[in-house]
């Protein structure tokens, strides 16, 4: 009897509230097309075709994750195309791709019927399309996250998992590499880079792993100490004239490089920045050569390192493998175990070499339209979980 009374009360409150729900649906449902825009261009979906640059490799990996159910041990996708949650329904190399939901997918068909991906969209256009609800999902550069949010774009931000580091090339600096690295590390105003260039979307980096991953990042100082930098530099004789390279196509790298040059000059360090052709980032082997491409000489270069796993040992091992051909840190052993102590001492030995100067940690930022539901930021190394995403039909767009 009491139950009936209470159901009546519930019904009354429903009538009073009106029929239209005041908030979006909570339960997932099927249907719709998810419209994605990305900056990179992908020339081929064939996993055996090597990407021309890291941006293409990342985008290709996300698209492969839609098509393939299995990953190999090295992280690449394998097996039969179409065994994943989606199948290719149309493909224009470098321009556009459409994927249809795989009805027979092992974990159940995805919620959306299809995904349309526009390739090669500049960051500004992606933000505008999100703003106008012409796109549902797009990666946004970390430095543009705040501005996009101010313009009403719904933003999803990961933990900082991409390191921007200054890496000295090869063994050009000889015995003085440790002191030169220390002088540079101390002269950089990381807080200013985070606050002004990254618009507060990031963290100063003192080590090769972020605090949330290793728990020991606080042991690596990030504060600027121009006085000590000047002192260390004055002890180096003869003091070298250094060239810092950055990716010609990467505006963030350019801004950071220019800022580091200013900081270095304030500490009396002779450092100039120089753009490198974008293809210089294509592979570690290419990057290792200081005089590759258009014979551009650099002593150090900015490198982006994205964590392939949230686990400190795996991330550090991958970073060492990536840095080894650039900086020649082959003597630095990978951590023997996953214990925080082993990881810390391995990280410490690389930092002590002076060959790698961490600058900032950056998050992955995504813009989402209002109708996207159940988007969950992937952990470091995970692909976009687009099979779990559904579109709220209650949304007018």
């Amino acid at each position: 009897m009491k139950l009936r009374l209470c159901l009546c009360l519930v019904t009354i409150s429903v009538v009073l509230a009106g029929a239209a729900p005041l908030r979006p649906a909570r339960r997932p449902h099927y249907g719709g097309t998810l419209r994605i825009e990305i900056g990179a261009t992908v020339r081929s979906l064939d996993p055996t075709v090597e990407a021309a640059n890291p941006e293409e490799a990342d985008a290709k990996s996300e698209m492969d994750a839609l098509l393939y159910d299995q990953r190999s041990e090295d992280g690449t996708f394998a097996g039969i195309a179409g065994s994943g949650p989606f199948r290719v329904s149309s493909w224009e190399a470098g321009k556009r791709a459409t994927f249809a939901a795989n009805q027979d997918y092992r974990e159940g068909r995805p919620f959306v019927d299809s995904i349309e991906i526009q390739l090669g969209r500049p960051a500004h256009d992606r933000v505008v399309d999100l703003e106008l609800s012409k796109a549902d999902f797009a990666p946004i550069p970390a430095e543009q996250a705040r501005q996009a949010a101010d313009r009403g774009v719904r933003i999803s931000i990961s933990q900082p998992n991409e390191l921007l580091a200054l890496v000295f090339v090869g063994s050009r600096l000889g015995k003085e590499s440790t002191r030169i690295g220390e002088a540079i590390a101390r002269c950089i105003d990381r807080a200013a880079i985070v606050n002004f260039i990254l618009q507060k979307e990031g963290e100063p980096a003192g080590g090769l792993l972020p605090q949330w991953s290793s728990g020991t990042a606080f042991l690596f100082p990030t504060e600027m100490d121009a006085h000590t930098a000047k002192e260390i530099w004055s002890q180096i004789s003869p003091s070298p004239k250094l060239v810092l390279g950055y990716d010609l196509a990467d505006t963030l790298e350019q801004s950071v490089a220019e800022r580091i040059v200013v900081n270095a000059r304030e500490a009396g360090i002779s450092l100039v920045s120089r753009a490198m052709p974008a293809t210089g980032k294509a592979s570690s082997a290419q990057a290792a050569g200081p005089t590759r491409g258009n014979a551009i000489h650099v002593d150090a270069r900015l490198v982006r390192l994205r964590m392939p796993s949230p686990l400190p040992r795996l991330a550090l091992t991958a970073f060492i493998n990536r840095l080894e051909p650039i900086a020649g840190i082959a003597d630095s052993p990978v951590p023997e175990s996953g214990s925080p102590e082993d990881v810390y001492y391995c990280e410490r030995s690389i930092m002590n070499s002076g060959l790698v100067v961490p600058v900032v940690w950056m998050p992955q930022v995504y813009g989402l339209s209002a109708r996207v539901r159940d988007w969950k930021q992937p952990a470091a190394g995970e692909s976009w979980p687009l099979a779990d995403v559904w579109l709220d039909s209650a949304d007018p767009h």
Binding site: L5, L16, A17, G215
Partner: protein, 352 residues
């Protein structure tokens, strides 16, 4: 709008343990009870500190918490470390008379807690550390006139669609936990303070997997339904239960009408019969989608105003259904940190 808050919005504080050290005579007092792996880890940390310091050496100790540990826990751990160090003949002294400075940081990594000691003597610094598994987040309740309690019944890696307990509290009768997940209908009998599997009925039968599948148990009628399959029998006697494929692929759940609670339309709720001398109570979750931590709160049946403090759930509430007793609700949630699905009973107690 940010979907994920920054991880490191954690309170950090520094405290001095010197007073606690001075009161070393109080070591007989009960220090907070910690899990054995915590005390073992702290012992290991003391061993490592002892290995890089000299016997009888005076250490000035400062502790810092940059983890999700509570201030109370850190305080207790700090005291325990002091005791452990004194057992290893390391003295705690004031900074001015210290041979070395010992800074202990309670930190946290992606894998658990990391407790780090930095020992600074002269121009030399030693760093030692230990790691400790972090326990799952505990539900937090605050006192209120009416209090909700969440009792975890079962947890597993695969998705739970529905569950129920038969025979609970009946004199002489044994309890039976019935669990419906996407692949099977399982029956567990309560033996030796634990649930023991009595029977599992496979529900696959070549069915295609379905994302976002829902299912429902009707304990009284002895029925289990999910898209494409129906099971029936006497659930107290699992051997009588049989399952058959059906043509019905639709969601068996009958949607409730939306209710409006504090300006939000809510589609998942459970209406409990009059409790605590009042009218009915409506239990409902939060307003986030299934990527956010959630809570359950009771609302007064008449005007749907808040009637209890919310109880936190470490992940989204996927199902919230009234139990047959009308006084409690069964809740299925997913712990976002571990990915594990949890089946819990939420009940109400009156504090007057």
């Amino acid at each position: 709008m940010r979907l994920l808050p920054r991880l490191f919005l954690r309170r950090a504080f520094i405290f001095s343990l010197l007073l606690a050290l001075a009161a070393d005579s109080s070591k007989g007092q009960a220090v907070a009870q910690f899990p054995p792996d915590w005390t073992n880890a702290l012992g290991s940390l003391a061993d490592k500190i002892a290995a890089v310091t000299k016997r009888g050496e005076g250490l000035s100790l400062e502790a810092k918490n940059i983890s999700s540990l509570s201030a109370v826990d850190v305080d207790g751990l700090g005291q325990l470390l002091v005791t452990d160090l004194s057992r290893r003949n390391r003295r705690a002294v004031t900074e001015s008379s210290a041979d070395a400075a010992l800074q202990v940081t309670f930190s946290e990594s992606a894998e658990g807690y990391v407790w780090i000691a930095q020992i600074l003597g002269g121009d030399k610094e030693n760093v030692v550390m230990v790691s400790v598994a972090a326990p799952n987040q505990k539900a937090n309740t605050k006192e209120a006139p009416l209090t909700l309690h969440r009792k975890l019944i079962w947890k597993q890696d695969t998705k739970i669609l529905d569950f129920g307990i038969l025979g609970e509290g009946t004199a002489g009768g044994s309890s039976m936990l019935i669990l419906l997940d996407t692949d099977k209908l399982s029956f567990f009998s309560y033996e030796n303070k634990g649930w023991k599997l009595a029977r599992a009925v496979d529900l696959q039968h070549g069915r295609a997997a379905q994302r976002g599948m829902r299912g429902r148990l009707d304990l009284q009628a002895g029925k289990a339904e999910l898209p494409g399959v129906e099971c029936a029998g006497d659930f107290q006697h699992p051997e009588t239960v049989t399952c058959a494929n059906t043509a019905t692929l639709a969601d068996p759940e009958t949607p409730l009408q939306l209710v409006t609670i504090q300006g939000h339309s809510v589609e998942d709720y459970a209406v409990l019969a009059g409790t605590c001398g009042g009218d009915s109570l409506t239990l409902a979750g939060g307003t986030g989608d299934w990527t956010a931590a959630d809570f359950i709160q009771a609302y007064d049946g008449r005007n749907l105003s808040a009637a209890s403090q919310p109880i936190q759930v470490p992940g989204p509430v996927l199902e919230l259904r009234r139990n047959d007793d009308g006084k409690s609700a069964r809740v299925i949630s997913r712990d976002l940190k571990t990915g594990v699905y949890e089946a819990s009973i939420v009940s109400v107690s009156c504090d007057d």
